[in-house]
């Protein structure tokens, strides 16, 4: 099973899609232009600090609000490897899978987590932090296939023998 380590940024409960990408930036042409404004209402400096392979750990209801697909796209474009939250809002969850952004639900990690620390993730099994293991549920195979193909469109192309 895939394993990786990453530095953690900690966000709170109910991180909504307007925080992830405010409405005023949605008219920008590309995700690359938009991504610098990611999380700006909450932490304007954060998008500039996130490095490739970093991990976001958050509380309940991450991604609540709008169906704007730019939200998971921006998180992915910033280089975030995965988001681990107590729970996710459903439209955001689906949009993330469809764009190949890995999400994991974990009820306890957020309460113990200190920002800047490094965690080790074994996909579909557990997160290791300060010697403790936090279990994560496994995703159904159809969703794993979509994520590992890089999203729904790529998975559809792969299935149709186009890539």
């Amino acid at each position: 099973m895939e394993t990786f380590t990453g530095k953690v940024w900690v966000l709170g409960d109910d991180i909504d899609t307007d925080i992830i990408i405010p409405t005023e930036y949605l008219a920008l042409k590309t995700i690359d232009e938009m991504k610098q404004y990611g999380f700006s209402p909450l932490r304007p400096e954060l998008a500039g600090l996130i490095k490739e392979g970093d991990i976001i750990v958050a509380g309940k209801n991450f991604g609540c609000g709008s169906s704007r697909e730019q939200a998971p796209e921006i998180i992915k474009a910033l280089g975030v490897k995965c988001v681990i939250a107590k729970s996710f809002a459903r439209i955001f969850f689906r949009n993330s899978i469809n764009n190949g952004l890995l999400l994991m639900e974990q009820p306890d990690l957020y309460d113990d987590m200190t920002e800047g620390d490094v965690i080790k993730v074994t996909v579909n099994e557990h997160v290791e932090y300060q010697g403790r293991f936090y279990q994560i549920a496994s995703l159904p195979q159809n969703l794993v296939d979509i994520i590992s193909a890089g999203g729904l469109v790529k998975a559809m192309r792969k299935r149709n023998g186009l890539d």
């Binding site: 307007d18 405010p22 169906s67 469809n98 469109v153 192309r157």
Partner: protein
């Protein structure tokens, strides 16, 4: 084991006799709606990411420009042009400037028993007519547009048994905010909120739309009512017929059940920056406001305009306040004109705008500045939702919003 209304709609769309929560099914979609929030992205993906793109059934598609109407800068104009050109090329039903997408869908398309995907989170509104409407992103929309199908994980249903009748001066908006305050912003995450009971019979289709529309603010996949005689009368008035009328079976299984006494509901406010931070309106009276907004897919119909006009008739908007009144659709606007409501708002000093999403989504109209305070009948009060990140949004009913616009501070109607 019996099924709920939502389960019956999914079973029919999947072509099977029975479904249960947790099952994953491939479903045929009855209709797909997309607006100018994201349609340009769907069109880009259609052209750039697919090898042999085709549309499964253009007659099932509806494109509606409602988020930035009229376009306010070259970027939104370009996005809308892309959408307009694509709709013309593929003979897709196209609406522009006629109203908020969900209001147009309810007035012209939604039928009981249908399964509808919309590239907008408030697609859950359609449950007011006993349809299963749910919001998706543009990739899911693209997949549905190209294949005519999608996959769904059958959600659990949660029953809200409504009893009694709302007191005078208390509205469905107060009721739904109260429910969200009670169960939380993810209280029904990935579940269906089914509203039923004798209290449901006291609610019009408009009232039911208010409840279903905000179900996503409790995390729900959709909100739904049985298509009863009230829903069927509305449908007949619009000249449409149901696809199917479903009732939940007596032995249908619910994840949870709540009993809500409508007669105990009072005027409430959701405080910034969370829709579930709901308190009695009297607790926030006196908070100074800079702007008030009466409109949106949640609360911009003729019923709410009547309430607002009734309160403001012969009075003036406070000098320090901008009061934006935005009918949810052209037909609502015309009805309001006919009833003299628009005159009343204009005499009071309100700014009456063309039908569109307006202040609710914080882009082209009524955007608020640094540290400004808005009281709104819109759908959300997230941080920065209506403008500057330091601004604040309070959510209330049409009555509370209008009374506050007159007083210059949050006040009871």
């Amino acid at each position: 084991m019996g099924m709920t209304i939502a389960e019956k709609i999914i079973a029919a769309a999947a072509g099977v006799d029975h479904v249960k929560p947790g099952d994953i099914h491939t479903v045929n979609l009855d209709r797909l709606m997309s607006n100018d929030g994201t349609t340009h992205l769907t069109v880009d993906m259609y052209h750039n990411k697919l090898t042999n793109p085709r549309i499964a059934d253009p007659e099932k598609l509806v494109f509606i420009v409602d988020h930035n109407v009229p376009a306010d800068n070259p970027k939104t104009a370009a996005a809308q042009k892309k959408m307009r050109d694509f709709a013309r090329e593929h003979q897709i039903d196209f609406w522009e400037g006629k109203g908020v997408c969900h209001q147009i869908m309810m007035e012209n398309y939604v039928c009981p028993g249908e399964l509808i995907f919309g590239a907008d989170s408030h697609t859950c509104t359609y449950g007011a007519l006993g349809a299963f409407g749910t919001g998706v992103g543009c990739t899911d929309f693209l997949y549905g547009m190209v294949t005519g199908t999608s996959w769904v994980l059958v959600p659990e249903s949660v029953k809200f048994n409504l009893i009694g009748k709302l007191p005078e001066g208390v509205y469905p908006r107060d009721l739904m905010l109260t429910i969200i305050g009670q169960i939380g912003a993810n209280g029904c995450n990935y579940q269906v909120m089914e509203f039923c009971g004798e209290g449901a019979k006291t609610l019009s289709v408009n009232d039911r739309m208010v409840l279903c529309n905000l179900s996503v603010e409790a995390g729900a996949k959709t909100g739904i009512f049985e298509a009863d005689e009230i829903a069927l009368a509305y449908l007949q008035e619009q000249g449409r017929k149901p696809k199917a009328v479903y009732k939940s079976d007596p032995d249908a299984v619910y994840a949870r059940e709540y009993t809500i006494d409508l007669s105990a509901v009072e005027q409430v406010i959701a405080r910034p920056d969370f829709v579930d931070d709901v308190v009695p309106a009297k607790e926030v009276c006196g908070v100074k406001i800079d702007e008030a907004f009466l409109g949106s897919c949640n609360n911009g119909r003729i019923e709410e305009l009547r309430i607002g006009a009734g309160i403001i008739k012969g009075k003036k908007v406070a000098e320090s306040v901008r009061f934006l009144v935005v009918p949810a659709s052209l037909s609502v606007y015309k009805q309001a004109l006919k009833e003299g409501l628009i005159d009343i708002f204009m005499e009071s000093g309100a700014i009456v705008m063309n039908p569109n999403c307006s202040v609710c989504w914080g882009s082209c109209q009524g955007v608020i500045g640094e540290n400004e305070v808005l009281i709104s009948t819109g759908t959300r009060n997230f941080k920065g939702r209506a403008g500057h990140p330091s601004s604040k949004v309070y959510l209330g009913s049409a009555a509370t919003v209008t009374a506050s616009a007159i007083a210059g501070e949050i006040t009871l109607a």
